[in-house]
């Protein structure tokens, strides 16, 4: 049992982030925010004609042209599905890893664009909405979201999540709020 419980500071005396349940709320906020953004981004690309999405990806000349039609087809669906799974808290751990991988790829792509000096008018991140973001803005935004994914990936919770439904209180270990519950995954 040693080491199974940590961050057990007394409530009322400890900073808010050390109180029991605080990390759970952070994970919920991170899931809703990042999942929501991904669903939004994927849907706005799906709303555009395929050729438009291809043209937006082709702006990133570092991506081989042969791959752009495939990316334009697959990426919006991956964004929508991984974002939705994260949002509703279903298969949260794999969804979180998939979202984190996408964010890491986008950050890397923006870094390459910035270093290479490739001129991108509109990142194409939110397709149909036409919100124009520069590569630097995208990089900063994605870094923040990647940071938000850390507690989700490392301390997955069932709070406000489909993954937590049907779990009887007896099934959960005592003091589960602040323990890693990877082993509760099916």
């Amino acid at each position: 049992m040693c080491g199974a419980h940590h961050n057990r500071a007394e409530p009322g005396r400890s900073p808010w982030w050390q109180r029991p349940g605080a990390m759970s709320w952070l994970v919920v906020v991170a899931r809703l925010l990042v999942g929501g953004v991904f669903v939004f981004a994927g849907m706005s690309k799906l709303a555009l004609p395929h050729a438009e999405v291809v043209a937006q990806i082709e702006q990133y000349t570092v991506i081989p042209r042969l791959l752009t039609p495939l990316l334009a087809t697959v990426l919006p669906w991956v964004e929508v599905l991984s974002g939705a799974a994260l949002l509703i808290g279903f298969l949260t751990t794999p969804a979180a890893w998939l979202v984190a991988a996408q964010l890491a790829s986008f950050c890397l792509l923006m870094l390459v664009v910035l270093v290479s000096g490739i001129e991108i008018d509109d990142c194409g991140c939110f397709g149909e909405l036409g919100w124009k973001e520069t590569p630097l803005q995208v990089l900063l935004r994605d870094l923040v979201m990647l940071g938000l994914m850390w507690p989700v990936v490392t301390r997955h919770r069932e709070m406000w999540a489909v993954d937590g439904w049907g779990q009887s209180p007896e099934a959960l270990p005592k003091g589960h709020e602040d323990t890693d519950v990877e082993d509760l995954d099916a």
Binding site: L48, P49, A51, E52, A55, G130
Partner: protein, 144 residues
């Protein structure tokens, strides 16, 4: 594009929809349409592309365009009066609305019948699409 049109001149019709994405471009489109009243639309259309680097950076876009149009033999005063009257603005707006209704987000965008081609593509790509569409239309039984 020019060569593709020449190659298939009996089977292809090109329809131009100037889609102004910014204020400078709106002025340029109005100048081109007004030049059409003097029978010189296509001359001005070509000039706008050839001199794009210069007039698009000029501090007074209209003055710059009037100067270039004058060199093509157009009546500058009539052209200026036409643009100032704003009579071409509804046409410019109608084309912008039409483009948006087709979800055109960037230029150039071509529709070869229903096939969308976005961005400056190699001529071979355009020719390939034209040939595909011609083959498809010839296979489809025509009404009447």
């Amino acid at each position: 594009m020019e060569r593709a049109l020449k190659r298939y001149e009996k089977d292809v019709q090109l329809v131009l929809y100037p889609f102004a994405l910014n204020h400078r471009s709106e002025i340029a489109v109005q100048v081109a349409l007004c030049a059409g009243e003097q029978g010189k639309f296509w001359d001005v259309h070509q000039m706008l592309y050839k001199q794009q680097a210069r007039w698009s950076k000029a501090s007074k876009t209209l003055d710059s365009l009037l100067q270039y149009s004058g060199e093509l033999g157009l009546d500058r005063e009539a052209l200026a009066a036409c643009v100032d009257s704003g009579k071409m603005k509804p046409l410019v707006k109608a084309d912008q609305d039409y483009a948006r209704s087709l979800q055109v987000r960037s230029t150039p965008t071509l529709f070869v019948n229903n096939q969308r081609i976005v961005g400056a593509q190699p001529e071979a790509e355009i020719v390939r699409t034209i040939r595909q569409e011609l083959a498809r239309v010839r296979r489809t039984p025509q009404p009447g």
